[in-house]
Structures are given as C-alpha cells and as structure tokens.
C-alpha cells in the first residue's frame, strides 16, 4: 500500500519541475509553428545560418581542446592522490559558480589586446573566433572533466595492473584498457561540454560580440527589432541543437551495448 502512494506523491512533486521546463521550451516552439513564414524567414536568412554554424563549430573546437587536455587531467584525478588534489578539483569546478559576465571579463583581462597573454599573442582573441572558443572552453570544461574522471574511476586499477604483467607499458595499458572502458563517459562528457558551449552567451559577448554566435544574434535582434524577430531564430537554434544532442546521446548509449 505504502509504495504506491509514496511514488504517486514523489512523481507529483517531481512533475512540477518537468512541466516547467517542458512548457517553457515547447510553448515557444509551438507558438512559432503557428507562424511558419517567420521560421522560413529565419531559415533563409544567411546571417542566421552563419551564426548557428559558427556556434556549433566554435563549440566543437572548444570541446576538442577540452578532450585533449581534460582526458589526462581526468585520469590523474581519478587515479592519483597528491597534495593539493582538493585544490585542483575546486579549480576544475570553479567555472560552474563564476557568473558568466565575470568569466568574460576575466578572460578579457588575459586574452584581450592588453591582457596577460593577449598582448604577446600573434592570434587575436577579441572579436574573433579564438575569443569565442576560449569563452566556451572556460564554461564547458568542468562538464567534460568531471564526466571523464567518473569514467576512469569506474575502471578497476587492477585491470591496468594485470595488463602490465602481460607486457603492457603504462601508455599501452592506458590506451588498451582504461581508455576504451571509460570511452562512454568520455563521449557523454564531450557531448555535455559541447552542448554547454553552444548555450554560452554572457562570457562570449564580453570578449567577442562579433562575429556573432547565435545567442548573440538573437540578443541583438531582440534589442533592435523585438520578440517577433528573435523568436524564430531561437526556435531554429533549439531544433537544430536538440536534434544533434539527442542523436549523439543515442549514439553514446549504443556504444555501450
């Protein structure tokens, strides 16, 4: 008797949150479907398509950097105890709590024309693709690192030890045993990090208002033309990202079985 009522109550409470997200997103999509011409206008607008492509592309670059540098970091965090480990872990999570405008300003002070690195760098970050990528990388890296670390933690270190007795050096043991076994976590982490990069706005506009990524373009249209101009672009962005996100998640699941 108790479990039934128990789960009904838990479900009822939980559905509030679910409805909240669902209504917010799908209300916008359905409303837009009542105005297909507006959506068509967005699809045929080359500056809209360019901004969406730029968003996706920049976030892929940021994710690639996160994977290349974050995988070894995640491995070390999963396997080794060292003094200051707690500090490193906090540093990894720090971007999660820094307000995004603050992140943008901090990035500007490093990568800006007079910034710590920017003043020596031959690569321009301000109002350029590299600026967008570093902003996305900053906010999305915790998602990748934490997921990859969980992946490595789920691999019994003794599997590597046994591989070592079979003749594998530490690199081979990592590549043949730990990496494949953590691959699903790494893939999911990369997807999450990519999705987080796409959704970034605050940090990006501080360092690179131009070229406009989709969230910036939507903001710009909203301020200059109003809701009617910005809603179709938002819906288009949501539809494209949802399609990619869902397909990748399915891919990641399929990879496991």
């Amino acid at each position: 008797m108790r479990p039934k009522g128990f789960y009904i109550w838990m479900g009822a409470a939980g559905s509030i949150l679910l409805l909240f997200s669902f209504v917010t997103i799908f209300n916008m999509i359905f409303t837009q479907f009542l105005d297909p011409m507006g959506l068509l206008g967005a699809i045929t607008d080359s500056s809209v398509l360019a901004s969406i492509w730029l968003t996706i592309y920049a976030s892929i670059l940021a994710t690639l950097i996160a994977v290349v540098s974050g995988t070894p970091l995640a491995y070390i965090l999963a396997r080794k105890e060292f003094p200051g480990k707690r500090l490193v872990e906090s540093l990894v999570d720090l971007p999660l709590i820094v307000p995004h405008t603050v992140a943008g300003i901090a990035l500007l002070m490093v990568f800006g024309s007079h910034g710590l690195i920017g003043q020596f760098s031959p690569v321009r970050f301000v109002d350029a693709l590299p600026g967008i990528v570093v902003a996305m990388l900053f906010v999305s890296s915790p998602f990748f690192i934490n997921s990859a670390r969980e992946g490595f933690q789920s691999v019994d270190p003794r599997l590597e030890w046994v591989a070592r007795t079979l003749g594998a050096d530490p690199w081979t043991a990592f590549l043949r045993v730990s990496l494949p076994l953590a691959s699903r976590h790494i893939l999911v982490g990369a997807i999450m990090s990519w999705a987080r990069g796409i959704s970034e706005f605050g940090a990006v506009i501080v360092i690179a208002y131009y070229p406009m990524i989709a969230p910036t373009l939507i903001w710009d249209r909203f301020l200059t033309t109003g809701l009617k101009a910005s809603a179709p672009i938002s819906v288009l962005l949501i539809l494209i990202c949802m399609t990619i996100f869902v397909s990748l998640r399915i891919l990641a699941r399929g990879d496991q079985s």
Binding site: D156, R158, W161, V162, T165, L166, A168, D169, P180
Partner: protein, 347 residues
C-alpha cells in the same frame, strides 16, 4: 623486504626463497598481507626496504611488464570490453607475435574451454572466467604464476576440479606458482611447500606435513587448527622424551627440548576419550570433566575442562553418552604433541 602501508598495516621483514618450478602456497588468515605480498612480487607496489629477485634477476625496481610474472586475482580482473579469446591473445599481441590467435586457441583448448573463444566475458560462469584468467596469465609464458585466492569464489565442486587442473597445468608447464589462500585443505592438497603468513609476518615455511603438525608459534598453531594449546614446564628429560608438568599432571612427550616453560600443541583428533583408564601404548592420561559437546555433521567436538578439546565421531559420543558434567579420561601418545618453548615462566 618490508613495506609500511600506513593505517597500521605493514609487511615486516619477509624473507622468502621460492624454488624454481615449485608450487608454493602462502597460507594465512584474512588481512594477513598475503595479497599485498603477491602484488609486491608482481611490482604493483615497491618495498620500502629489501630486494626481490625473480629467476636470477634483481627485480626490485623493474616495472611489472619486465618481470615475467602472470597474475590471477580472486575476482579474475578480466577486461569487460574483450572476448575470452582476446584476453588470452592480449599479451601475445603486445609482443608482436603473429601466431597470437592460434596460440591463444591452443591454451584455451588445454584448459578445456575452446568454445569460449568468441564469448564476451560477462556471459561466462565463475569457473569459465577463472580459466580465461589463468589462460591469459599463462599465454605469455611467465616465470612465475601468482594466484590470489583463485578458488575461493568457486562452488565446492568446481573447486575440486580446479585444484586438479592447477596442479596438472603447473607440472606440464613447469612454471613456478605462488598461490595465496586462507584455506588449509587447499594448501595441504596443492602445496609443495607452505609459507604461513600472519599480521604481515612470515612465520613459518615448510612442506605441508611439517607445517600442520609442527607450527612454530602459538598463533600459527591456532590458525592451523591445533585446538589444544596447553602451557606446561619440562620437569625432566631423557633420551628425547621429556616429562612435562601440565598444571599438576605429568605427561611424557617426545621433544628435543630439555627444560623450561613450554607450550604443548595437540591436534584434537589425536586425543582419545574413554570412561575408564585404558591400558594402551599411549603414555599419557588426563582426567577431566566435559564442559560442552558440539555436534558437527558426522563429528562431535568435545570441550573438556583445562582447555582440552577432542574430536571424535558423533556415534562414539552418542554410544559413550558424553554430555556436560561427565568425567572422562583423555589419552594421547607421546609422539602426538608438538612442544615449543614458552616466553616467560608464568602461566
């Protein structure tokens, strides 16, 4: 060699010489340090002090991949992403052997599990997984095969079959085996020699017959199933037979010890119980009162006063009507006990 793990655990001054081609069993209770010792031989941990030699090579600082050892964990530590065949071929492929696949197949055949080659390990039974783990370890022809409680996750019937398989494989391949277990009968059946390890200390090394009948310390005796550990003092000694005062009763025991306080170990199955003093060749007779009788299947364990325990058949216990309060005679031969010197004179 030694290693301190912190947290109150360390391996202390382990001095052990395992002979080439022998089946060596490390026997000890849970948390004695057996697995850690095995992992140090494999090179997963380095000793704080001391050296490890493997086959004439100083291996103390060699990484595991250079030590030519095979390792089988209690839970087998198989690779979840590989088939059984790929497990066995794993080490051969790393060595660039073009015949990796065929050699792996031959090994699986030797262990009687050819049909497993293409199966993923999640679909294997415990016994099958264990064979795959052993085949994987043997594939690279290691000098030493390290087995960590290889039988304890198997059911009793599979255990018996596997014991035979382990001995056969070891003889056929001539590989040196170091087998860790807490199971005494396993050690007795398999071992050429046994090393008893307790609390991080190697207490005794010898063939099974010696280790089980002549434990070197009181703790080892307790662990090895010597239930009668009686404090006494040698009163006199002649021609290798000592008269020992056991709390007021004098007994005669074969021992090379000449005097001083001693501990007398007697296995419970070496004690004969009777209603009347019997006249036999056995030279020792103690009277005592029954405290408790525990029936264990076909056997009965009889606890007497003065800390004496005897193991007899349940039928004898029933026919003699042994129950708490009865006075009985406990008899044992002069050759039955093993005597060690006792620290300090008081008991």
């Amino acid at each position: 060699m030694s290693r301190d793990w912190g947290l109150g655990f360390s391996l202390r001054e382990i001095n052990l010489d395992i002979r080439e081609g022998e089946y060596f069993v490390l026997l000890g209770p849970t948390a004695a340090g057996k697995t850690l010792l095995l992992e140090m031989i494999a090179g997963f941990y380095a000793p704080d002090q001391g050296v490890i030699w493997i086959g004439g090579v100083e291996a103390t600082r060699l990484p595991p991949e250079k030590r030519e050892v095979g390792f089988v964990y209690q839970d087998y530590a198989l690779f979840p992403h590989l088939t059984a065949g790929a497990h066995v071929a794993f080490g051969l492929r790393l060595r660039g052997r073009p015949d990796a696949r065929e050699k792996a197949d031959r090994l699986l055949e030797k262990l009687g599990v050819t049909y497993l080659a293409k199966r993923r390990i999640q679909t294997l039974s415990g016994g099958e997984q264990q064979r795959v783990a052993i085949a994987r370890a043997l594939a690279t022809e290691p000098r030493v095969l390290l087995l960590d409680e290889p039988l304890s996750s198997l059911d009793l019937k599979t255990q018996e079959k596997t014991r035979g398989m382990l001995r056969r494989v070891q003889r056929d391949l001539g590989v040196t085996v170091v087998h860790v277990t807490h199971n005494q009968s396993e050690a007795m059946v398999l071992a050429d020699r046994i090393g008893v390890i307790m609390d991080g200390e190697l207490i005794q090394v010898g063939p099974p017959s010696e280790v089980f009948t002549r434990p070197l310390t009181r703790k080892a005796a307790e662990f090895l199933g010597v239930e009668n550990i009686l404090p006494g003092r040698i009163v006199s000694s002649r021609e290798g037979i000592a008269v020992i005062d056991l709390d007021g009763t004098e007994v005669q025991v074969v021992t090379h010890l000449k005097d001083g306080p001693v501990e007398v170990f007697i296995r419970p199955e070496d004690i004969i119980l009777s209603d009347n003093p019997i006249s036999t060749s056995a030279r020792n007779l103690l009277t005592s009162e029954v405290v408790e009788v525990n029936v264990e299947g076909a056997l009965a364990r009889v606890f007497l006063e003065r800390g004496i325990t005897a193991l007899i058949t349940r039928r004898s216990a029933e026919e003699m009507e042994i129950r708490p309060g009865r006075r009985l005679f406990a008899t044992f031969k002069a050759t039955a006990p093993h005597v060690i010197p006792r620290d300090g004179g008081d008991f």
